[in-house]
């Protein structure tokens, strides 16, 4: 039951995200670009630290 509820929750989140993406993509493309771009920048910055930690673990300079 818990898994079904969890699935339903995330499915709802997915639907809302899709709805927002469609509405923003149609009427507010720059707003959508900001959302996607900011998330991308966060992920890329976080990925940079993953590389740093790998270098650190292998005793390469970083």
């Amino acid at each position: 039951m818990k898994n079904i509820l969890l699935f339903a929750f995330w499915f709802l989140v997915g639907l809302i995200t899709l709805f927002l993406a469609i509405v923003l993509g149609e009427a507010g493309a720059w707003y959508l670009a900001w959302v996607l771009g900011t998330v991308m920048m966060i992920l890329i910055a976080a990925t940079g630290t993953v590389i740093l930690e790998v270098d650190d673990e292998q005793d390469r300079p970083y």
Partner: protein, 528 residues
């Protein structure tokens, strides 16, 4: 009339001063909140203590900046009512809603979660605390969104119509207001400029530590996060700035000619004035250094577009002023007799140019008696002060490209593991911290001074927007604001320097959690 002109000049100076002070704090809040969320995300995913130390350290600097940003922003909300009462009456229906939402975002969403973020480390689970930090980032940027929606209306009024019965603009479409291209481009450009500001700030301070070999674990990682974050922000801010310039140029051609120092209409391919010495009186550039062919694609996003120059825009404004005069006369009739059908009909025909007729009222109180010279003078007023706008624009552009180059180098050095060896670069980095702040202020000057002579573009001239205070009152309040805000800046600088000198609370690092790090592994910089 002379006293009115002085009061308007003082009202403008006061708003400009408070806005420029406030805008020193805002971009750092916008960007640092997102960087904090990034750092804490890494902490929650990796479980490494160093990222918690990082987040907590930058949170302290964020909190100082945030507190002063809110304090300086408060007065501006009231200033609209106290110093710009005609403006507030004229567009209160439209401007009030986003301004109120901005206040709610800043004080309820953002400020509430800031408290939880700063003091909730030991009271909330990791996931919940991360959610709180994201809410702070979202709150600060949504707060900026709403004030920029309001500002975009001043630049490009859409979704509203003037009602001659109430003598004010009334909102017709909230979605048109919220989704206007000006609002969208303005928000993304400003927000990402904040990201860039925060990245340069973090890099500068991290470099300061690396030079002194202090807090190396935090400094090296902060540098890496900020460099990658910042390099994309700098690319974004330049692209989005171009988009904003294109959109604004279509809606406000008068601002565009001031930004480019363009007096004559330019057929393709037009040259770009890299530097020039504009003479507003003579409507020409005394000196100009041009790059050929560049301006047309830059401004029109095509290779065959025509860019209308200031002289032709003045001629257009003269036509609009003449067309607007019957609307103003009709409006004065309607204010005495709201049921006068002839006046209402006349207003409907000429109402689109009412704002232009208000420009000439400055020189001819009875607009029906306005001379051709007075109309020409009013039309020339539609060109904003070209020199300050032109040079502010170039300062902003130069700063943006300087930061792009700096961040590309920072990213390369960081990714190659060479950053701690690049001592010259590390010495330069702290001196880069003022650059984004200068660019932000210059951008604000371009946007707001470039909108003159209007408070609401094409609708309401600045000269009739202010309240009717006495000169003494305005001087007293201006001096008060400048004095208090200068103290705020000094307090901010003092606290920032104090906490930066102290650095993060980074004792010896415990080993990372077994699930995410090699057992028993110790960081290269863990004891630094």
């Amino acid at each position: 009339m002379q006293e009115l002109e002085t009061v308007i000049a003082l009202s403008r100076t006061q708003f400009a001063a408070t806005a420029l002070y406030h805008y020193l704090f805002v971009p750092l809040t916008l960007g640092l909140s997102v960087l904090l969320a990034t750092m804490e995300t890494i902490y929650v995913i990796s479980g490494r203590e160093v990222y918690r130390q990082m987040t907590q350290f930058w949170s302290k600097l964020f909190a100082i900046n945030f507190a002063l940003g809110v304090a300086t922003g408060l007065t501006m909300e009231f200033e609209f009512g106290t110093n710009w009462s005609t403006y507030s009456h004229f567009v209160g229906d439209i401007f009030g809603a986003p301004l109120a939402i901005e206040g709610l975002m800043a004080f309820f969403l953002e400020s509430t979660f800031v408290g939880l973020m700063l003091f909730g480390w030991d009271k909330l689970s990791r996931g919940k605390h991360l959610l709180v930090t994201y809410m702070v980032a979202l709150g600060s940027n949504l707060s900026a969104l709403w004030i920029l929606v309001a500002n975009a209306y001043m630049q490009h009024p859409v979704g509203s119509e003037f009602n001659p019965a109430t003598m004010r603009m009334e909102l017709e479409s909230f979605t048109a207001l919220f989704f206007s291209h000006e609002a969208q481009a303005k928000f993304v450009h400003t927000s990402v400029a904040g990201f860039l500001t925060a990245a340069i700030f973090v890099i500068g301070i991290s470099a300061f530590y690396m030079l002194r070999k202090r807090h190396m674990a935090v400094a090296v990682r902060s540098f890496r996060v900020a460099a990658l974050f910042g390099v994309f922000a700098s690319i974004g801010v330049i692209c989005l700035g171009d988009a904003l310039g294109f959109i604004s140029g279509e809606g406000q051609p008068n601002k565009l000619v001031a930004m480019e120092g363009l007096w004559e209409t330019a057929e393709a391919p037009a040259g770009f004035n890299v530097i020039a010495w504009p003479d507003q009186e003579a409507m020409e550039n005394r000196f100009a250094l041009q790059i050929p062919y560049v301006l047309t694609p830059l401004v029109t996003h095509s290779f065959d577009g025509t860019i209308t120059g200031a002289r032709d825009l003045v001629h257009r404004a003269e036509v609009r002023i003449r067309d607007g005069i019957p609307a103003l006369v009709a409006l004065e009739t309607l204010s005495d007799n709201p049921n006068d059908r002839d006046a209402l009909r006349t207003f409907r025909i000429h109402g689109d140019n009412l704002g232009y007729a208000l420009l000439v009222k400055r020189y001819a109180p009875d607009v029906t008696q306005a001379t051709p010279e007075q109309i020409t003078q009013a039309a020339r007023d539609t060109i904003p002060p070209v020199g300050p706008v032109f040079w502010s624009f170039r300062i902003m552009i130069a700063a943006a490209f300087l930061m792009l180059g700096f961040l590309i180098l920072a990213t390369i050095y960081s990714l190659r593991g060479q950053i701690t060896e690049k001592r010259t670069f590390l010495k330069i980095a702290p001196w880069m911290i003022p650059v984004p702040f200068i660019a932000n202020e210059a951008g604000w000057v371009v946007a707001e001074l470039g909108r003159q002579p209007w408070t609401v573009y094409g609708q309401l001239p600045t000269w009739i927007s202010a309240s009717t205070h006495s000169v003494g009152y305005m001087i007293f309040s201006l001096v008060g604001f400048v004095a208090i805000y200068t103290i705020f800046i000094i307090v901010e600088m003092f606290l920032m320097v104090k906490f930066i000198r102290k650095g993060p609370d980074d004792g010896p690092l415990p080993p990372a959690e077994p699930a995410v790090a090699a057992p028993g592994h110790t960081s290269q910089w863990s004891q630094a």
